[in-house]
């Protein structure tokens, strides 16, 4: 029975531009699946969207507990969507624990849909509720639609002869049906999907379809009685083609496979379990038919060293980790720089220092990536801006590594690794191959006119030849000791070290990096908001909003962190102000100041949570409010903010899956 709540404040308009919905329930309630299917139907309806799966860190969370809550947030709309949304408009709470852990995030006046059937004494106790929040006035500032979803589900599936326990498994489909009605989404794709999923058990498929349809039908009834109303969101025009959802970890893995294929090389991946990077190892371990060898090493150091050993032997060596593991790999990166072997290092950044916040996101490894090695050890660094972008960036990392014979660091973060977004499936035929070339013949002539081999003789890009052991006649020795600029033999002489230092630096400085473009706004003006990595979404949306208010602000997103695009300095100097938001204490700001002597102002946030659009808007607004000198600063912690990952284990391990979505969907 629907209980209408008091005083709805500002509910959803009939045709909102965008809506944020969060599905939250017990781990066993199938919320990731519900979210995944809602995502699919939303994509089919032509909306743009971004999602954030927020699942418990515990391996097997006890039923009904606060830490066992699994949530899935989706932001979708009729305009470009860049983030999973600041705060939900709608919260679906399948049990008391889900309500308790998520209610603070809901917008005032937002809609709560709750299953009264799960608000039992036992579940209320587990969620530490003294009184039933659905029955007192604690939810007064929200719209509330509370009724017995459990009972209605059992009723709906009764004709299919399922026991109560099995029947209740369809609860998520009933809820999904209601959500589909609410946002005017077609049911047929879900019908088809259920039929395919339960091909061998048609009665289960039928029961789920019945639950879905019942939820959908309920919407119409409830609309008459209470706060629920149907809203319509117009489609966003997007390029026709094949789409799928992809998480950052999946996209990195796919990009690395594509990169190795484009380089015509077998891939060797050395990894060691660490949150949130392990998912890449898991994905690649299942792709052996692509000539991928995965090696779970004894430690982070062995993982990178084995990858370097494999590159030495002619594979594309790749390793991946997160901050603490990257720190351990530092010395070996120096060896790869010294021996000039290709290598890709993926860093899925998390909160630091030390073990820090294993399951929370941060961008605080930028200094480590750019500067974090002994000696003058230049290394290219590139960063992904979103799950989908991680695919392209991974290919780019492989290209630079192979063409310039250098290790490359690819930065992602915990947010990108776990978040999903729609991704237009690229056509591999459109990728530019960059086949690796192995030297098989001598490459020089000595004083006596005899053919000889110089392992460090460079090409026009400054790269030395790649020679696989096993190649006749080209035996040579390499190592970490300074070597002669041509022969590669040990050479400590002062002028040789000077030259080699210059050559190594020159090679990296000379990497062809595309000119920096402005991704939104003018190429000069009052304010440039300069971001890198996963801050792309909130910056882009906030700048877009500010521009719609007539403010002279531009968004510049930097993919190539090192070396930086050559024109970036001039571009930044065309703006009166440069604001650099990042999830650290201002690391990229330092790099920009250092490289270009521009007066970059930091906007920092280190609460383990991504920037909210509102925070970004506020920061931009300060440049236009007429108050001098209040720009930049630090964004305060907002505990209610989501997406909000649960804390992980002390050892940094997360549950044994890449993302609940990919697992449940069997992709």
């Amino acid at each position: 029975m629907a209980t209408a709540a008091t005083a709805p404040q500002d509910g959803l308009p009939a045709t909102p531009e965008s809506v944020v919905v969060r599905f939250a329930g017990d781990s066993g309630d199938g919320m990731q699946l519900t979210g995944g299917q809602f995502t699919l139907s939303t994509a089919l309806a032509g909306n743009d969207l971004a999602t954030f799966p927020d699942f418990p860190a515990e391996i097997r969370a006890p039923q009904g507990t606060l830490f066992g809550v699994s949530a899935f947030q989706i932001n979708f709309g009729s305009r470009e969507i860049n983030t999973a949304g600041d705060a939900p408009d709608v919260l679906v709470a399948m049990n008391p624990a889900a309500l308790k852990t998520n209610i603070a995030a809901l917008k005032p006046g937002g809609l709560v849909i709750a299953d009264t059937g799960a608000f039992t004494k036992r579940n209320l106790d587990k969620a530490h509720y003294e009184a039933n929040p659905l029955e007192d006035d604690s939810l007064a500032k929200y719209d509330l639609l509370a009724f017995d979803i459990s009972e209605k589900t059992i009723e709906a599936v009764k004709p299919y002869g399922l026991g109560n326990k099995d029947a209740l498994r369809s609860k998520n489909m009933w809820t999904l049906g209601l959500a589909l009605w609410m946002f005017d989404r077609p049911r047929e794709p879900i019908h088809d999907w259920l039929k395919a999923k339960f091909k061998s058990k048609p009665e289960i498929a039928d029961a789920n379809i019945a639950a879905l349809d019942a939820g959908h039908a309920y919407g119409e009834t409830a609309e008459l009685a209470g706060p629920l109303k149907q809203v319509h969101i117009d489609p966003v025009p997007s390029a026709p083609g094949l789409y799928r959802t992809v998480t950052g970890a999946e996209a990195v893995s796919l990009g690395l496979v594509a990169g190795a294929q484009l380089a015509s090389l077998p891939m060797f991946f050395g990894g060691y379990p660490i949150t949130p990077a392990s998912a890449i190892l898991h994905h690649l371990a299942r792709l052996k038919e692509f000539d991928v060898t995965t090696f779970q090493a004894e430690d982070e150091i062995a993982a990178i060293c084995a990858a370097i050993g494999a590159s030495y032997a002619g594979s594309l060596g790749i390793t991946s980790s997160s901050g603490p593991g990257i720190a351990l790999k530092g010395e070996a990166m120096g060896l790869a720089i010294m021996t000039e072997l290709p290598l890709v290092i993926v860093n899925s950044q998390r909160g630091g220092p030390s073990t820090g916040l294993p399951t929370k996101t941060e961008q605080s490894d930028l200094y480590q990536a750019v500067y974090g090695r002994n000696g003058d050890a230049p290394m290219p660094v590139i960063a992904a801006s979103s799950p989908g972008d991680a695919f392209e960036v991974a290919i780019e990392a492989c290209r630079i590594a192979v063409q310039y014979m250098t290790p490359v660091m690819l930065l992602t973060d915990g947010y990108i690794a776990n978040a999903a977004e729609p991704w237009k499936v690229p056509d591999p035929a459109t990728f530019e191959p960059f086949p690796a070339e192995f030297l098989t013949e001598k490459n020089a002539v000595d004083d006596q006119g005899a053919e000889t081999f110089l392992p460090y003789k460079r090409d026009e890009k400054g790269a030395r030849p790649w020679v696989k052991p096993g190649t006749p006649g080209l035996m040579h020795r390499i190592g970490g000791i300074e070597k002669h600029e041509l022969s590669g033999n040990i050479d400590y002489s002062p002028d040789n070290h000077q030259r080699m230092t210059d050559l190594r630096k020159g090679k990296i400085d000379g990497i062809a990096v595309p000119d920096q473009e402005v991704c939104l706004g003018n190429t000069s003006g009052k304010l440039a908001v300069v971001g890198w990595g996963s801050t792309f979404g909130p910056i882009h949306r906030a700048v877009d909003n500010a521009r719609r208010q007539g403010r002279d602000v531009s968004h510049i997103h930097v993919r190539h962190i090192w070396p930086l695009p050559k024109n970036l300095g001039d571009l930044l100097r065309g703006f009166e102000h440069v604001l650099v938001p990042e999830m650290n204490t201002g690391q990229f700001k330092t790099v920009l100041r250092d490289q270009f002597l521009v007066d970059a102002t930091p906007l920092t946030k280190t609460s383990g949570q991504p920037f909210q659009i509102a925070e970004m808007e506020e920061a931009i607004g300060k440049y236009f409010d007429g108050v001098e000198g209040n720009e930049g600063g630090e964004v305060p912690v907002n505990d209610d903010q989501l997406p909000h990952l649960e804390s992980g284990h002390d050892d940094g391990s997360l549950k044994n899956q890449s993302s609940p979505q990919s697992q449940e969907l069997g992709s």
Partner: protein, 344 residues
């Protein structure tokens, strides 16, 4: 893996143009020569041979062998070698390490390369001291060793390389010393072994730990303290006047006198290189009361890591097409202006 083609070479073919930079009189010279003498006898192909080392005096070795060589970072050589072997299982890899490199900073990697059984020869030069950093006590230094870092004498218990290797799961454990004429035989046996073959080579650091092995490894006069093990032969030493027997009550080894060559009557054990229990006793046998066990202490191959990796890759790839377009479009997809598609 392809069967290796035997190549005819001479010792000279395995020398590089680089000036050898060990201290004059260092045991490393003798080991280098023994290796360069052994490689032609193996029919080894310089183009297919790779020497991989860590950091330390011993780890300069690759620069002096005319083959492929990779002088890596301290302690990590086993990891580089594992990666190289997985990338190209046809490579013939020799790992060169020392007591500090292999048992201190690199103990973890040494343990894992042995337990994984990656096919390579691992030569650990044991001189019981840090040479390149000027003489600090190493993990194999004996208790009481005086050094710059232990001026009053070290008090930590030494690691025993052969016992470590066997305990880590090594399927081949050999021993020799720098100037021994038998060293090439041990190297050949290690090379013939399919899997990780561990060879402890006692090496005389004439600058920082001179002659610490003289009791059994002196060029002359120490032969009676050497127990050279041969498969199928009785464990005899001291001109066959003594042997090693099993004390069946205490379940430990003992030294027995052999009268008139009747070793059987004295209960001397016949060496069986596949007997892991005896191997454990041999690596634990304290020098002093017992001779130094040398030669092949243990040799019982089992399938290698890279063979298992290749087999798994082949099996997992069977019937699967490496189609990138299909991979990218996997999972649940939809087409804009179209309909949902079934998961691939």
């Amino acid at each position: 893996m392809n069967a290796p083609v035997k190549i005819e070479t001479t010792l000279k073919d395995w020398e590089t143009d680089q000036e050898v930079r060990w201290c004059p009189g260092c045991g490393d010279y003798a080991i280098l020569k023994a290796v360069q003498r052994t490689l032609p006898q193996l029919g080894a192909d310089p183009a297919n041979t790779v020497f991989i080392s860590g950091i330390g005096c011993s780890s300069r070795f690759p620069y002096y062998v005319e083959s492929y060589g990779f002088h890596t970072i301290h302690g990590r050589a086993p990891a580089f070698a594992t990666g190289a072997k997985l990338a190209n299982p046809d490579l013939d890899i020799w790992l060169v390490t020392g007591d500090g490199d292999g048992l201190s900073i690199g103990g973890n990697h040494l343990m894992h390369v042995l337990r994984r059984n990656v096919n390579m020869q691992i030569m650990l030069f044991n001189n019981e001291i840090y040479g390149l950093t000027k003489g600090q006590a190493s993990p194999t230094s004996r208790e009481g060793t005086k050094s710059p870092s232990t001026p009053i004498g070290s008090y930590d218990h030494p690691a025993r390389p052969a016992a470590f290797a066997l305990g880590a799961g090594a399927r081949f454990v050999g021993r020799g010393f720098d100037v021994s004429k038998h060293l090439p035989d041990v190297l050949k046996a290690a090379h013939a072994h399919q899997g990780a073959a561990f060879i402890e080579i006692f090496q005389n650091c004439i600058v920082y730990n001179k002659d610490v092995f003289n009791d059994f490894a002196a060029p002359k006069g120490a032969e009676d303290q050497q127990l050279w093990l041969e498969n199928g032969k009785p464990m005899l030493f001291a001109k066959d006047g003594k042997g090693i027997a099993l004390d069946r009550d205490k379940l430990e080894l003992k030294v027995v006198d052999v009268v008139d060559g009747d070793w059987e009557a004295a209960g001397v054990i016949v060496h069986d290189v596949t007997n892991r229990s005896i191997a454990h006793m041999l690596v634990e046998m304290p020098f002093g009361p017992f001779p130094m066990a040398l030669g092949v202490l243990y040799d019982d191959p089992r399938p290698t890591f890279e063979a298992a990796a290749m087999a798994e890759k082949a099996a997992a790839s069977q019937g699967k097409e490496a189609n990138l377009a299909k991979l990218l479009g996997k999972g649940q997809t939809w087409t804009v202006d179209g309909t949902a598609q079934d998961p691939v």
